[in-house]
């Protein structure tokens, strides 16, 4: 990889389980990608990521645009200075379309949520996110792998070795776990149980999210769980169709955010809001206050750095958030 004085774009996806950073060039190609564990501390994860990128790209590059996404998108945008703040459904769709132009169905399973996105004529036509239960998501698989003392990376491979599948109740994480333990105590092999779990998750996903929707080719599967070959095989069996795993399947949100930031900057004549790689090195503090001025009892979040208030949000009336007005798009 040659690093000259390049114009690059940065996409940041602060999710519940992982924080991903993607750097792309003017041709929308990924120059570098990072997949870090959020470990419940998004600011720390962001700081680590920015440090790693900073040491790699140093002073020789210009970041022309920054996009943030994921459940921590607002927090990330305040800390590094983002040009766009986009929800993860839109970013995932944009990224998938870039890599697989004729994509019609996007299956996405992340750490805490799973979603399905249906595209028609190149635009998002319909989508659904899991509503009540985390049974079909990465963190549940993570937990089960840990319980069986199998590295999560090898988890899927076990499923492929199964010869007689076991039916696991996958509706709810708690019931699935007790059902797995029950099957294990009656003497089923670990491979069969893991395969049963993969099938249960896929069944749950299809029943919950894909209900009433036509899953047309081309189908793309992305998100951290796409690395699990057992789940991929179970999807292919259940749908009877071939599934494509895109190249950057684990960082698609961040990739999409970078693409949207690039598009916005290229369209407008404005410069970037980016504070520079050093921005994350400052000390950031987040605190929440319950506002008791009216009966809404809003939980206001305040981000401060060196005793300076950077941003506040969470209030309905705008009394707190309007104190710090920043000239940028926070919502949408």
């Amino acid at each position: 990889m040659k690093l000259g004085k390049m114009s690059l774009y940065l996409g940041v996806d602060v999710g519940s389980v992982s924080t991903n950073l993607v750097v792309i060039n003017g041709e929308s190609e990924v120059v570098d990608k990072l997949y870090l564990r959020t470990s419940g501390q998004p600011i720390n994860a962001l700081r680590t990521g920015m440090k790693m990128l900073s040491s790699k790209f140093g002073q020789n590059t210009v970041i022309r645009g920054v996009g943030t996404t994921g459940s921590g998108r607002q927090l990330a945008s305040v800390i590094i200075g983002a040009d766009i703040v986009k929800n993860e459904i839109t970013t995932h769709a944009v990224a998938a379309q870039m890599l697989v132009p004729d994509v019609k169905t996007i299956l996405e399973i992340g750490g805490q949520d799973s979603k399905i996105i249906i595209l028609k004529n190149g635009v998002v036509y319909d989508f659904a996110m899991n509503t009540v239960c985390a049974a079909g998501t990465g963190s549940f698989l993570d937990r089960q792998a840990a319980r069986l003392e199998i590295a999560i990376e090898d988890f899927g491979a076990y499923a492929l070795k199964s010869n007689s599948p076991v039916r696991i109740a996958g509706r709810c994480a708690v019931f699935a776990e007790s059902d797995m333990i029950h099957k294990q105590q009656t003497g089923h092999s670990t491979e069969d149980i893991i395969n049963g779990l993969c099938e249960a998750l896929v069944r749950n996903y299809i029943n919950n999210l894909a209900k009433g929707k036509d899953l047309e080719d081309t189908i793309v599967f992305q998100g951290g769980v796409a690395a699990n070959v057992g789940i991929v095989a179970a999807f292919e069996r259940a749908l009877g169709k071939k599934i494509i795993i895109p190249k950057y399947y684990d960082v698609m949100g961040a990739y999409g955010a970078a693409l949207i930031a690039k598009e916005k900057i290229e369209k407008s004549s404005q410069g970037s809001n980016f504070y520079g790689f050093g921005a994350a090195e400052n000390e950031y503090k987040a605190r929440s206050i319950e506002c008791n001025d009216c009966s809404n009892l809003c939980e206001v979040i305040e981000i401060t750095s060196n005793n300076e208030v950077l941003a506040r949000w969470g209030d309905r009336c705008g009394k707190w958030s309007s104190v710090v007005k920043k000239d940028k798009e926070i919502v949408g």
């Binding site: 459940s71 929800n87 839109t90 004529n121 998002v124 319909d126 209900k211 929707k213 809404n296 009892l297």
Partner: protein, 371 residues
């Protein structure tokens, strides 16, 4: 007798007008908030739908302010709302809150019982007075809904963001302090004037989204996380077919009066659901069809977790989505609903609608001609 009633969006304005005019003291519970829900959740059965939990919170918070009697409306048909009255009575008694519950239900043939209840409430029986009160309450509820509808139109078009919310919230704060339908109507007409004075972008053709679903969660801003504010401030014009005044007129008055009901929604729902299955399932389906026919860009369905009629409607909605090529988003709400995930869905939905409209316009489709 100090009367209170449960909150449902702006229903409290009509209820206040009614009770003020009758001349009984009323205690408006604090606006729905997290504490209300917390109290309600503590006392209600876990799997009951969200509105009952919020209602119970309202009663107990009003009790703390001195209320001793609860006025609620009843319902029939296969929806749990019909049991709210009895459930509330039992739960409050179990929790040792000594409160009386008066249900203003449609007479359903039993006119004597209905009149008894009105008598209890009005403390006498002056037919002329009662009719006048009912008339004024109905007018108040219609005016309140008109104001709401007006904000739906102005909010996405306002030039200075937040000006609509400011006028509207001032009205909500003032209305608690005025007395009787006359003063309320005066305040409402002032508010209307102020709303009309807000500068708007007349050229803008905003996205249009219809809100359908279970009545409580679509109307109450606390229950639906202020969806009309959120969409409006994102530049989307919203519409909600099911309103408080509509409910009073269609479900209460027209059950007694020999007038024809407005059944357009029922005709529109006919090909998908031919009969009333309780709750607002038929309205949800019918209004979705009507929105699609009237050129709306999308429809949002909202309902509380475990609401049977809306679950049925939700499973039929994909057919309407396909037949009319309209986007539908379903949001299910209970006390566990996380605001972040909720907002993400709404944001993504608006993105989707924007993109679809772009496509229509580029493709020189019919969409160019819609107003």
């Amino acid at each position: 007798m100090k009367i209170t009633f449960p909150h449902m969006g702006n229903t409290f304005i009509s209820a206040k007008a009614l009770l003020d005019d009758i001349g009984v003291e009323c205690i408006i519970p604090p606006y729905n908030n997290k504490k209300t829900l917390e109290i309600g959740t503590k006392h209600a059965p876990e799997m009951v739908c969200l509105p009952l939990k919020i209602n119970l919170g309202n009663y107990i918070q009003a009790h703390e302010l001195g209320a001793d009697t609860i006025l609620i409306t009843g319902g029939r048909g296969p929806c749990r709302f019909g049991y709210y009255c009895e459930m509330s009575k039992e739960i409050l008694a179990d929790a040792s809150y000594n409160m009386e519950v008066i249900t203003l239900d449609g007479p359903n043939g039993n006119m004597k019982e209905f009149l008894e209840r009105i008598k209890k409430l009005a403390g006498g029986f002056n037919v002329y007075k009662i009719l006048k009160v009912i008339k004024n309450t109905t007018i108040v509820s219609k005016r309140v809904d008109e104001i709401e509808k007006l904000t739906y139109k102005i909010r996405p078009r306002e030039l200075i963001k937040g000006s609509t919310d400011k006028v509207y919230k001032t009205m909500l704060n003032k209305v608690r302090k005025v007395n009787g339908s006359r003063e309320i109507l005066q305040l409402l007409s002032e508010t209307k004037k102020q709303l009309m004075e807000i500068e708007i972008d007349k050229e803008l053709i905003p996205l249009k989204v219809g809100i359908v679903g279970e009545i409580y969660t679509t109307i109450d801003p606390f229950a639906n996380f202020h969806i009309d504010f959120i969409l409006g401030n994102m530049g989307v014009e919203v519409d909600r077919a099911v309103t408080v005044s509509g409910w009073i007129i269609e479900h209460m008055l027209k059950n007694i009066l020999p007038t024809k009901k407005d059944l357009r929604y029922r005709q529109a729902a006919e090909p998908y659901l031919g009969r009333m299955i309780g709750g607002h399932a038929q309205e949800t389906l019918g209004n979705t069809v009507l929105y699609a026919k009237n050129g709306f860009d999308g429809v949002v369905q909202i309902y509380p977790l475990t609401c049977m009629p809306e679950i049925v409607a939700q499973s039929i909605l994909p057919s309407i989505e396909r037949d009319y090529d309209i986007s539908i988003l379903t949001l299910i709400i209970d006390e566990m609903t996380g605001e972040a995930g909720y907002m993400t869905r709404i944001e993504a939905f608006v993105d989707l609608l924007n993109k679809r409209r772009e496509r229509f316009e580029v493709g020189k489709n019919v969409a160019l001609f819609r107003s």
